[in-house]
């Protein structure tokens, strides 16, 4: 840790990509300072939002020795990462499980918003990671804010960790389903992430052939509403997708509305709704996903939800490449943390040429990674995928090395 004090703060600005930057800081052990968080005059609520503060709390509980400071207004944040300890006993965990409460004020975000970056860190932890997310703001479904459902994380993001040599004892359990609550309501879901396959360095990835989509799987969920919504959404989605893939199987999960206990012991009911998560799998195990949930205010028939999910899936497949946009951040970060070798991945032009990915490439270079190499895949120019070459920096598990 002595070296850390001599390290200068890496500087970032703005509220975008906040979690990615915190994750990169934690993985590389570099302290960072993020300023001007929603400081522009046009934002009505300056500073960190409740979900962001909650994410910092989560980082604090799975690391040891992290220091987090924010300014009075919350527009400036200094984060000095500690070791990634995971759910080790005695450090915020009880019985090897961290219970992370997502309060009612965080209900703009789905549980996946916390889980996706946590998974990136989890592979590098000292002990296993076992976190239960619960509380009035814990939403397992897709949200209007654009977060995917935990089903999509489970079926379209977690399987990708296999490519990096992390495949055993990794699981997401949906303990209580919940949907996005309307104004004034609450969610009350519960979901557990178990990530017990830690590696010293992720394997070098070579993923160049997107293959052809051969099967589609999915989960339709109905929370506190009739299960016929699932059947109708599935029927509509199949109607669109059967032209392309006959092998389509969508599970139907009908759950009760989550119940939470009031302080006086009475029970109250959480948000209800339904939705559909779809995953297309290619012959080379590349995954494309789609996620649509009924809006909190209702008013969209199940057929439309099903169709929208199907169209969204087709769009994701059309964008091409071996990794879709939802998962690209996880994949690129893990590639960068790999051993000192060149990994390659083919990405669709719309995936690579998106603000998020360009910014990710820049943020990686700020924390000391070399730039990405880009070249056309095959002879198909301006139309085919782009092969991105990433030199791993072998920094995986910095925490353990310093310790």
């Amino acid at each position: 840790m002595a070296s850390e004090t001599s390290q200068s703060l890496l500087r970032f600005t703005g509220h975008r990509h906040l979690r990615t930057r915190l994750v990169l800081a934690t993985l590389t052990g570099r302290p960072i300072r993020i300023s001007q968080i929603r400081a522009s005059s046009s934002s009505t609520t300056p500073g960190l939002t409740p979900p962001e503060v909650s994410f910092l709390r989560l980082l604090d509980s799975i690391t040891n020795g992290s220091a987090i400071e924010f300014s009075m207004t919350g527009t400036t944040l200094v984060y000095r990462p500690g070791l990634i300890t995971g759910s080790a006993e005695g450090l915020g965990a009880q019985g090897g499980v961290i219970r992370h409460e997502i309060g009612r004020e965080c209900r703009d975000r789905g549980a996946s918003w916390w889980i996706v970056p946590l998974c990136i860190l989890a592979g590098f932890a000292k002990a296993g990671v076992n976190v239960v997310f619960h509380g009035e703001g814990c939403i397992t479904a897709a949200t209007p804010g654009g977060d995917v459902s935990v089903d999509t994380v489970r079926t379209a993001i977690l399987p990708l960790y296999k490519n990096f040599g992390m495949e055993r004892n990794i699981e997401i359990r949906v303990l209580k389903r919940s949907c996005s609550p309307p104004r004034g309501g609450f969610a009350g879901g519960e979901v557990q992430l178990v990530f017990n396959h830690q590696v010293r360095l992720p394997k070098t990835l070579h993923l160049l052939n997107p293959g052809r989509v051969k099967r589609i799987r999915g989960v339709a969920y109905a929370v506190g509403v009739s299960g016929s919504n699932n059947a109708r959404a599935i029927e509509a989605a199949r109607g669109v997708l059967n032209k392309f893939v006959p092998d389509t199987y969508i599970f139907s999960d009908v759950a009760k509305a989550p119940l939470l206990e009031n302080k006086d012991g009475t029970k109250k009911k959480g948000a209800v709704g339904f939705g559909l998560s779809l995953v297309g799998e290619s012959s080379t195990n590349c995954l494309y996903s789609a996620d649509v949930a009924s809006p909190p205010e209702g008013g969209v028939p199940a057929e439309d939800i099903g169709k929208r999910a199907a169209y969204q899936l087709l769009e994701s497949i059309e964008r091409g490449g071996c990794v879709e946009k939802t998962a690209v951040e996880s994949v690129m970060v893990l590639m960068s943390m790999g051993s000192e070798d060149v990994g390659r991945v083919a990405l669709g032009r719309e995936v690579l040429g998106s603000e998020e990915v360009v910014q990710l490439g820049r943020d990686l270079s700020v924390v000391g990674h070399s730039g990405w190499g880009l070249r056309d895949a095959g002879e198909a120019k301006e139309d085919g995928d782009v092969v991105v070459s990433v030199v791993g920096r072998g920094v995986g598990n910095v925490g353990r090395k310093i310790a």
Binding site: R212, V245, E382
Partner: protein, 116 residues
């Protein structure tokens, strides 16, 4: 439809989506990521847009400014789609046929897909 976009893409003045262009702009910090993406796609800032901005200035005094400024947006995983347009696109036989090459059943009919 997609075909028209492709044609436009191929014959446009400044050929967009060139990998070398993106490689040059990627780490050029004088351009914001939004500008990089725009330039790469070849979406030029033409006069159309200028007009729009001027309009905005006029009634800016009374209306709260639309926050389409990317700086104010929040991160999201699922993009916002115009589902009506998507429905039209994916109910179009031509599009469906052209797209079948991306699926395992599609390899017998029509053009050969990428990869194999």
């Amino acid at each position: 439809s997609n075909l028209r976009e492709n044609a436009k893409r191929m014959h446009g003045r400044n050929r967009p989506y060139r990998t070398t262009d993106l490689a040059k702009m990627m780490y050029n910090l004088t351009l914001s990521p939004a500008e990089v993406v725009k330039k790469w796609r070849g979406e030029l800032e033409d006069d159309e847009e200028d007009v729009e901005i001027e309009d905005e200035v006029d009634d800016d005094f009374f209306k709260k400014r639309k926050s389409d400024n990317p700086e104010d947006a929040e991160d999201r995983y699922i993009p916002i789609f115009d589902y009506a347009a998507l429905e039209e696109k994916w109910e179009d036989e031509e599009n469906i046929e052209a797209f079948k090459s991306r699926f395992a059943i599609g390899h017998l009919n029509g053009k050969s897909g990428d990869g194999d």
